[in-house]
């Protein structure tokens, strides 16, 4: 019997897969109670969504499907099979092993070819950075740390000039 990694008392009934920034997975054994407390709803039955189901998926749900849960959005693979839709971008990594054969059947391939996304990511990152600097500046002013505020203001000005926003 595996004990829950969170409370360390009850028997763990599901595995929660957590991804770090590089997409490396760490598995966490969690008991039903802790899962519920943390909003990891994968083990609960929710009503099936109509029309969205990939019928092929429904055929067989094996035991491990209910136990692998996406840490970010709480979706289990079993739930994905039921509703036919994933819960978030991380689900693709969390369920990568189980998704690959499905994606291969659908598309005849599991390797994306074509346009890649990054340009927008850079711009969005810049926006976030600017927002963060603005928040820090506000905080510095509130705390009457004017030296820091001046430095932040200069940095903010530079970033804004660079990005033209």
């Amino acid at each position: 019997m595996k004990l829950c990694d969170i409370c360390g008392k009850k028997e763990a009934t599901l595995v929660v897969r957590q991804l770090d920034k590089d997409g490396k997975a760490t598995d966490l054994n969690v008991c039903a109670e802790c899962a519920k407390k943390r909003g990891l709803t994968g083990v609960e039955e929710s009503p099936p969504e109509s029309g969205a189901v990939i019928t092929e998926l429904k055929s067989k749900v094996d035991d491990s499907d209910a136990k692998v849960v996406c840490m970010r959005c709480g979706m289990s693979f079993a739930e994905f099979k039921r509703v036919g839709k994933l819960g978030c971008a991380d689900c693709y990594q969390t369920f990568a092993e189980k998704l690959r054969p499905i994606i291969r059947r659908l598309h005849g391939s599991v390797q994306h070819i074509g346009k890649t996304a990054n340009q927008g990511r850079k711009r969005a990152q810049e926006r976030l950075e600017i927002q963060r600097l603005r928040a820090e500046l506000e905080k510095a002013i509130k705390q009457e740390d004017y030296e820091k505020a001046a430095a932040l203001r200069d940095r903010l000005k530079r970033r804004e000039d660079e990005t033209g926003s």
Partner: protein, 347 residues
């Protein structure tokens, strides 16, 4: 609410290459924001956040100036069906309970749905068989939006979508074909099976499942991953090119061998439309499509292709009611539809 119900999309202008067979070409991209869960897992504040973010991005790209952004009461039944009938929104957008939005450009060639199955789905429609225009404009909008938004993307799976059927390029291209020649010569089954074997999806444009009305078909790519955007366009456009050529051959055959029979069918359809006092959407669709066939063949010269193609949409229930400015019962609709068509076809 600011609609121009009688002015219909430039994509139905009846112009463009092979417009005798191809009504329109459509290119659609699905995109999701990296920082927000997908639609099935979104909380209401996240739906609002995405709505806001996308609207802001559209404004930044300048697109908002070229059209309107619809929300709330415009996007539920019955009014929302107006957009569905015009091929600017999906039925799912109208029936779902999400906070949602729809951008429609002035000429109705560009539309963008927010919080349907994916955070963002946008499409470009072009009149006739015209991937150059449709794909060019869609890629341009994608580029511009990407300058504002961070998309969910993985090097392995490509653009991440709520459903794995769209993952990868998340690109769906489709061609709306009018194939009466192939239907009349009974070649259609063979052609559609062939298209499916080549990796394409074929559906009737109106009606559910395999049932088709007016010999109108939609051909699109089934797969979105493992091929580049350009390859997807190439495959679909290559297969459609062949279908168009077959349809042309079938029409030539009919005009050489069964001209009187075809003329009879065309003029009877026109006669019914000009004489009917009560008409359902389904019957009108079938008859109008046959009249369109007659116009394309040069059998009917007094009508334009665009007029007839546009009527196919204007007579649908939600559009008819918006045009007439009244809510009508089913029976009232059938009567007013017949009157509307008669007035349009008077010469």
């Amino acid at each position: 609410m600011k609609l121009a119900p009688e002015k219909i999309g430039a994509w139905l202008s009846g112009s463009g290459p092979d417009s005798d067979v191809v009504i329109s070409t459509r290119v659609r991209f699905a995109r999701n924001l990296v920082d927000v869960p997908f639609v099935v897992r979104m909380k209401q504040f996240e739906q609002e956040l995405v709505l806001e973010t996308v609207r802001w991005a559209l404004a930044d790209t300048g697109y908002l100036k070229q059209g309107q952004f619809f929300e709330e009461e415009m996007l539920v039944e019955p009014d929302g069906l107006y957009f569905v009938e015009r091929h600017l929104a999906s039925p799912d957008l109208i029936t779902c309970k999400n906070r949602k939005g729809l951008f429609v450009s002035e000429d109705e060639t560009v539309s963008l749905m927010v919080n349907e199955e994916d955070h963002i789905r946008f499409q470009v429609l072009a009149s006739g068989f015209d991937f150059a225009t449709a794909f060019g404009k869609a890629a341009e909008l994608d580029e511009k939006l990407e300058g504002q938004l961070a998309y969910a993307f993985s090097p392995e799976f490509g653009f991440l979508t709520a459903c794995p059927t769209n993952v990868g390029t998340a690109l769906r291209v489709s061609v709306f074909l009018h194939l009466p020649g192939l239907v009349l010569t009974r070649e259609i089954e063979k052609v559609l099976r062939g298209a499916y074997a080549l990796g394409l999806l074929v559906r009737g444009v109106y009606g559910e499942g395999s049932e088709t009305r007016g010999n109108l078909f939609q051909v699109s790519n089934r797969q979105t991953l493992g091929q580049s955007e350009a390859e997807i366009v190439e495959v679909v456009s290559g297969v459609c090119r062949q279908i168009i050529d077959y349809e042309h051959k079938a029409r030539q055959f009919l005009m050489h061998n069964l001209r009187v029979e075809v003329e009879d069918k065309v003029f009877r359809s026109l006669g019914l439309l000009r004489g009917a006092r009560i008409i359902s959407t389904e019957e009108a669709t079938n008859l109008l499509a046959t009249v369109r066939f007659g116009v394309a063949l040069g059998i009917i010269n007094e009508l334009k292709l665009a007029e007839v193609s546009q009527l196919l949409i204007l007579i649908r229930p939600a559009n008819l009611q918006v045009i007439l400015g009244e809510k009508l019962t089913g029976a009232e609709q059938e009567e007013r539809r017949a009157t509307f068509i008669r007035e349009k076809l008077v010469r």
